[in-house]
């Protein structure tokens, strides 16, 4: 469904991605783990068209979207939930969700307000409240809900656990597992490797702009090198984000 070939991204001459290739098949949940500064967010932003690509090719459903604008990528149903939620703080919860339908264009909706409220009941209670007054976890749920309103065919999630309390992290990941169960295709970027490996089918490890490992999530979760680098300090990750 998503094909990324040899993707390169530079910021003022500094290479953030050095030839990354990956595929995501329909119905799959793929996790991308790696340390801070590995280029995980750059990869998602390059796919979404937010940052210019220095080389490589991105195709979605067979169509070349390498040079597409962020809004036309979104209109194809390739929707990103950005790092740090980035909800619209001065708009109500409901307005944030309705804004999400912009990406639909002429495509039929797959999740409406009621479906999103069913996944995240707290959003229904807070629907008239300003998004800026929500807690971090509620804002994350709102950001996911906003993307669902745009009829995603592939959902890109950038660090959904960032800065959230462990209890809330589990809640968010339970919701993601529920979305996966509906058949939604997901590409998940996460520093919280334990949760990411638990929810995904497949995982890739990105270090210094390159993919250094990949395999089935269940295998990687038992790999000694991965455990040493990413799973050992899990408590520290969960606390500090």
């Amino acid at each position: 469904m998503l094909e990324v070939q040899d993707l390169a991204v530079s910021y003022r001459g500094i290479r953030a991605l050095r030839g990354v290739s990956l595929n995501v098949a329909a119905g799959e949940t793929v996790a991308l783990i790696g340390p801070n500064g590995a280029g995980k967010s750059s990869l998602l932003n390059a796919i979404s068209g937010l940052v210019a690509k220095a080389g490589g090719r991105v195709a979605f459903d067979g169509a070349d979207i390498t040079r597409a604008s962020p809004w036309s990528v979104a209109a194809r149903g390739l929707l990103q939930v950005p790092e740090g939620r980035q909800v619209f703080p001065g708009m109500s919860v409901q307005e944030n969700l309705l804004l999400g339908t912009t990406a639909l264009g002429a495509r039929p909706a797959t999740w409406g307000l009621d479906e999103v409220f069913a996944i995240f009941p707290i959003l229904r209670e807070r629907r008239a409240q300003l998004a800026g007054s929500l807690s971090g976890g509620q804002q994350q749920m709102l950001a996911i809900g906003r993307a669902l309103m745009g009829g995603p065919r592939l959902l890109l999630l950038d660090e959904p656990s960032l800065g959230l309390a462990p209890l809330i992290v589990r809640q968010v990941f339970r919701a993601l597992a529920g979305l996966k169960a509906t058949g939604l295709t997901i590409l998940l970027v996460e520093q919280n490797a334990r949760q990411a490996l638990a929810v995904s089918d497949r995982a890739l490890v990105l270090e210094q702009g390159r993919i250094v490992r990949q395999g089935a999530s269940a295998d990687l979760a038992h790999d000694p090198a991965i455990i040493a680098s990413y799973l050992g300090q899990d408590e520290a990750h969960a606390g500090g984000g």
Partner: protein, 296 residues
């Protein structure tokens, strides 16, 4: 007497609101001070005058003025700001390029009008004065207040109650996140500039009718008033701009009526100074609104 001046102030303030709201919308969405906004206002006044002296009805002149000023405003965004924005250093660059646009538009108007002050024909608007509870109000004043009120209501409805307005507010708050939800910011900028220009054009016609004096420099004092109003109200705040425009209009008519002419501006700006001393971010402003590119 005071009540009469307050009434006059509300009418004038309504016109200021039309002018300042567009100025403020553009500032809010792009952090750009469009210093050609006064020239757009002036172009609206000239359009209505040109329509009327060529035998067209005033309502047609009014609509044409709004349409032309709106298009002119969109053109300014395209020519002066869009490429600058790609450099990522537009806040100061835009001030210079909009001064340039303003000079170009004013020079064209100066050439066309031959540097003359032009006037609407005597019977363009029926002169009729009503006495209500001891207050005098002319039909023109009623029309000005009604037109300003109606346009502000339509604008507020558009911004706060329609999907297009929702997109404008989303791009104002966070353009990057808005793009990820499928919003094309360029389309939103076009709508915003059109709306801002159309409101300025309407204000230009109302001012042209009220003072019956249309000339190529008429927008410049309004640019200064617009500045004062959006700073007083709080940068980027729509309700703030409305409140500040009415307050400013009333302050102005009161000082003109009761103080020596030379003191008018001194008193108004002293008042502004005192208000900003107490509320540095404006009457309804938020702390972060004045920071340049703080949210990107």
């Amino acid at each position: 007497m005071i009540a009469q001046q307050l009434l006059n102030g509300i009418v004038v303030g309504g016109v200021y609101a039309l002018f300042a709201l567009g100025f403020n919308l553009v500032f809010g969405i792009q952090r750009i001070l469009n210093l050609a906004h006064g020239a757009v206002f002036m172009a609206g006044a000239f359009t209505a005058w040109y329509t009327v002296v060529n035998g067209g009805p005033l309502w047609l002149g009014f609509l044409l003025a709004m349409a032309l000023s709106g298009c002119l405003s969109v053109l300014i965004e395209l020519v002066c700001f869009r490429r600058l924005r790609r450099t990522g250093d537009e806040e100061f660059g835009a001030i210079i390029s909009s001064i340039g646009a303003s000079l170009v538009i004013m020079t064209i108007a100066q050439r066309i009008s031959g540097t003359r002050i032009v006037r609407f024909p005597f019977d363009t608007f029926p002169i009729q004065i009503y006495q209500v509870a001891g207050l005098r109000i002319s039909l023109l004043q009623l029309f000005m207040a009604a037109a300003a009120f109606a346009l502000v209501v339509v604008m507020a409805w558009f911004v706060y109650r329609t999907p297009w307005g929702r997109r404008i507010r989303a791009v104002t708050e966070n353009a990057r996140a808005a793009m990820l939800t499928g919003v094309n910011p360029n389309a939103v900028y076009r709508q915003t500039y059109f709306m801002a220009g159309a409101l300025a054009g309407a204000a230009g016609v109302l001012v042209g009718l009220a003072f019956n004096s249309i000339h190529y420099m008429m927008g410049e004092p309004y640019l200064l008033f617009g500045f004062v109003i959006i700073i007083l109200g709080g940068l980027g705040s729509i309700p703030g701009a409305l409140l500040a425009a009415l307050l400013f209009g009333m302050m102005q008519t009161l000082t003109i009526a009761f103080l020596p002419t030379g003191l008018t501006n001194a008193v108004i700006f002293l008042g502004l100074f005192l208000i900003l001393l107490l509320r540095p971010h404006g009457l309804l402003g938020r702390e972060e609104a004045g920071q340049l590119r703080g949210r990107r």
